[in-house]
């Protein structure tokens, strides 16, 4: 998928303002951004639901968009934005069977039972969708997308309403899909899920891409982040940290006060130097983790930076 200079406006509102984006095959790519950043608009363009006012978009090697008469998104592109579209009067199996019927007997489709099993809905396959929870609907929406054996799967907030078991199913399905060579583009506000799943992310703020690339690039970026530090002697650890170059002890990190946890703020190199100093001081390091994920930290920093520059 390759986007160049995408601009999309709705009346006076500029939803996308010159978006460039490349997503390679076999990748799970996350799109994050605050509300109103243009995520859903971008995903809608990928699905061919709308056409950009300016710029070019190529999907699976073909120009995408919507003509007057048809969606020009290539075959193999599917997904959902603003929640899956399901018909409550039909059962889960009925919804999938009706969709499969659209494509005809010669089409490249997965089995209905297979996709239901993949998303963990086999037990409720014959229940009316009317009684489904949000999480079950999300999983059924994913099953509907899987039915067409997608080459590009576009999902908007697929984790909404999912319980841990449902999340595990969705993770497994998307990971396997990418491993099989398909591309997955998804948006979510749940940074931990994106970090667990995505190889690359793009951060959108007010219709512009402010970061795009691998997660490791975010973590390695020249930005201090807060870490939780738990050792065998917190008072001694505090003294060591306070003396370390490039490390600050944070007492107002915004987290719940916990005497057993020390919060330190540092760049990664400074943190690398802190750990041997703690050990040298005879302290056992029991936990050293970011207070917020690198993605969330970057997201907050970049969006705040963007907001303050406006």
């Amino acid at each position: 998928m390759r986007a160049r200079g995408l601009v999309k406006s709705f009346d006076d509102v500029v939803a996308l303002d010159g978006v460039d984006l490349d997503v390679v095959a076999g990748q799970v790519h996350g799109v994050v951004g605050p509300n109103g950043a243009g995520k859903t608009t971008l995903l809608g363009l990928l699905l061919g639901l709308a056409v950009a006012d300016r710029g070019s978009l190529e999907i699976l090697g073909r120009p995408a968009g919507r003509t007057e008469y048809a969606l020009a998104a290539p075959d193999g592109v599917t997904g959902f934005v603003d929640g899956p579209g399901l018909y409550p009067a039909l059962t889960a199996r009925g919804n999938l069977a009706a969709l499969a019927g659209l494509r005809g007997p010669g089409a490249r489709t997965a089995g209905i039972d297979d996709v239901l099993e993949q998303v963990g809905l086999t037990d409720v396959a014959d229940d009316k969708v009317r009684g489904f929870s949000l999480g079950m609907r999300q999983r059924l929406g994913l099953a509907a997308a899987l039915l067409t054996r997608p080459r590009l799967l576009v999902l908007d907030e697929p984790y909404n309403g999912l319980d841990p078991a449902g999340k595990r199913h969705v993770h497994g399905v998307l990971t396997q899909l990418a491993a099989d060579g398909a591309t997955v583009v998804l948006s979510s506000h749940r940074m931990d899920d994106l970090e667990a799943l995505c190889s690359e992310v793009s951060i959108l703020v007010t219709g512009r891409v402010v970061f795009t690339g691998p997660l490791s690039k975010l973590a390695a970026a020249n930005r201090e982040i807060d870490y939780r530090l738990v050792t065998s002697d917190q008072a001694a650890a505090r003294r060591v940290a306070a003396d370390a170059t490039g490390v600050r002890v944070v007492d107002d990190a915004g987290t719940r006060p916990d005497p057993e946890v020390l919060v330190v703020r540092a760049l990664v190199p400074a943190l690398d130097e802190l750990v041997p100093r703690l050990i040298h001081a005879g302290l056992a390091v029991r936990e050293l983790t970011p207070v917020v994920s690198p993605l969330e930290s970057a997201f907050l920093a970049l969006t705040e930076q963007q907001e303050s520059s406006r």
Partner: protein
């Protein structure tokens, strides 16, 4: 600021082209969705069972719905019951059915939030529109024959006996059945027009309940309009007129002019409203979740074109037929009343076991005034008073009787016998199906609103 990511993939040569779903498959998809709805299933069941039960139940009652066309004959023959079903369906049931089916077929996707899903699955707004229109039409074609068949079955249970037509002449059961089926076929045209209005409302008004109710509101509005005085050319240009003018099939000769014009007007409405719905649909932006109808476009794409269609149709009808005014004229009323009196007199003679006299021998004439002669004898009103005269073979005296006529603006009238009592008063006569009111006492008639074709 725009960030560009690093390495890009080279698009695969021979990437799959967009593949759209065929109309046939999209149509089947829409049918599955429609038929999965409990209310549609319930409607199908009700249409195939309800009318029959209604005909049988009403026919058992001592008091018949005499204010409904053919209602007063429901004891006499089951075919009258089947026609009552047709009349009731035209007034109330068909507008409601089109509301539930066609009025909801697009807006249901708004309600469920499934438009984007549907577009991604089918990939062609045009095919979505076609399949939805065809599917809703199909469901209506499942419902309407149910009403007809059920009404006929109920009528057959009551009894298949000759039916007195709207001019009093007797139709054999086979003739009545043929005309009944033809009448049902005719009302398909305004049903399609209402369905198209439903599509237009469903597309234009989105989730608004007004979109769902539009065919019912328009249908009932048209029914009310038909009860108001208006030039006959405008009356015939309204799509609901066929719901009334099918009764022209039950006169001899048949009043086909208003019926055919009404069918043509209805089909013009069906085509125009469907085209407008299509154009509105194709211009819709499906990316906006907040879309809740087409707002001002409803006026420019809905109301104005349909008003223009009425004006154009009325102009064509006026030019082609020369119809002006209300179409209700003294000569037509007198002719209609005399013809019907002659037929019913013969029926009465038969039921009273009197000497059979043909209509030609009776040589019935009628003389009508309006408002005691104080107003011009034309137009609707309940102040028509008519004297009917007839001759019996071998009798020098001329028989006469008086009727009060309540003439509806749409041409239907009720004649109420005003003496002498022995001729057109209320008394019971013994018939094959039991005691029945004197057929000359009160009866329904119909005035052809179009000018009679000039002879020579």
């Amino acid at each position: 600021m725009t960030a560009t990511i690093a390495p890009t993939d080279v698009p695969a040569p021979g990437a799959p082209a967009p593949s759209r779903v065929s109309v046939a498959r999209a149509y089947r998809f829409e049918l599955v969705k429609l038929l999965a709805q409990w209310r549609v299933r319930l409607l199908i069941l009700a249409c195939w069972i309800g009318p029959g039960l209604l005909v049988v139940a009403v026919s058992q009652q001592a008091s018949l719905p005499a204010d409904t066309l053919f209602g007063r004959w429901m004891h006499a023959t089951g075919w009258a019951g089947a026609l009552v079903v047709l009349g009731f369906a035209g007034n109330w049931v068909l507008p409601l059915l089109t509301s539930v089916v066609a009025g909801d077929v697009f807006s249901s996707e708004d309600r469920l939030g499934t438009w984007r899903h549907l577009l991604v699955a089918v990939r062609s707004p045009r095919r979505i529109f076609l399949s939805k229109a065809l599917a809703s039409g199909t469901v209506l074609l499942l419902l309407v024959p149910g009403l007809a068949v059920s009404g006929v079955v109920g009528g057959l249970v009551v009894g298949s006996r000759p039916l007195a037509g709207l001019d009093g002449h007797l139709l054999s059961p086979a003739d009545a059945a043929g005309k009944l089926l033809l009448a049902w076929a005719c009302v398909l045209a305004p049903t399609l027009a209402l369905a198209a209005i439903g599509l237009l409302g469903s597309v234009a008004l989105g989730r608004s309940p007004i979109g769902l109710l539009l065919p019912a509101v328009v249908g009932i509005g048209l029914q009310l309009a038909q009860s108001l005085p208006m030039p006959v050319a405008i009356r015939l240009a309204l799509p609901g007129y066929v719901f009334l003018s099918w009764n022209g099939l039950f006169t001899s000769p048949q009043q086909l002019g208003p019926l055919l014009i009404g069918i043509a007007a209805s089909l013009a409405w069906a085509v125009t409203a469907t085209m407008l719905a299509y154009l509105l649909f194709m211009r819709r932006d499906f990316t906006s979740l907040a879309h809740d109808g087409s707002g001002r476009r409803v006026i420019t794409w809905g109301i104005l074109p349909m008003a223009g269609l009425i004006a154009a149709t009325a102009g064509i009808v006026a030019l082609a037929t020369g119809a002006t005014g209300s179409g209700i004229e003294q000569g037509k009323v007198q002719q209609s009343l005399a013809t019907e009196f002659a037929h019913l007199y013969r029926l009465q003679s038969s039921e009273l076991n009197h000497m059979d006299v043909t209509e030609a021998q009776l040589h019935v004439t009628a003389s009508c005034t309006k408002g005691d002669g104080m107003v011009a004898p034309d137009g609707p009103g309940n102040d028509w008073r008519c004297y009917v005269y007839w001759h019996l073979p071998g009798v020098n005296a001329t028989g006469n009787a008086i009727y009060q006529l309540d003439v509806n603006p749409n041409g239907r009238y009720v004649a109420d016998g005003d003496g002498p009592k022995e001729v057109n008063g209320y008394f019971l006569v013994h018939t094959r199906y039991g005691d029945a009111p004197n057929p000359l006492w009160q009866f329904d008639g119909n005035v052809d609103l179009l000018p009679a074709p000039s002879k020579g």
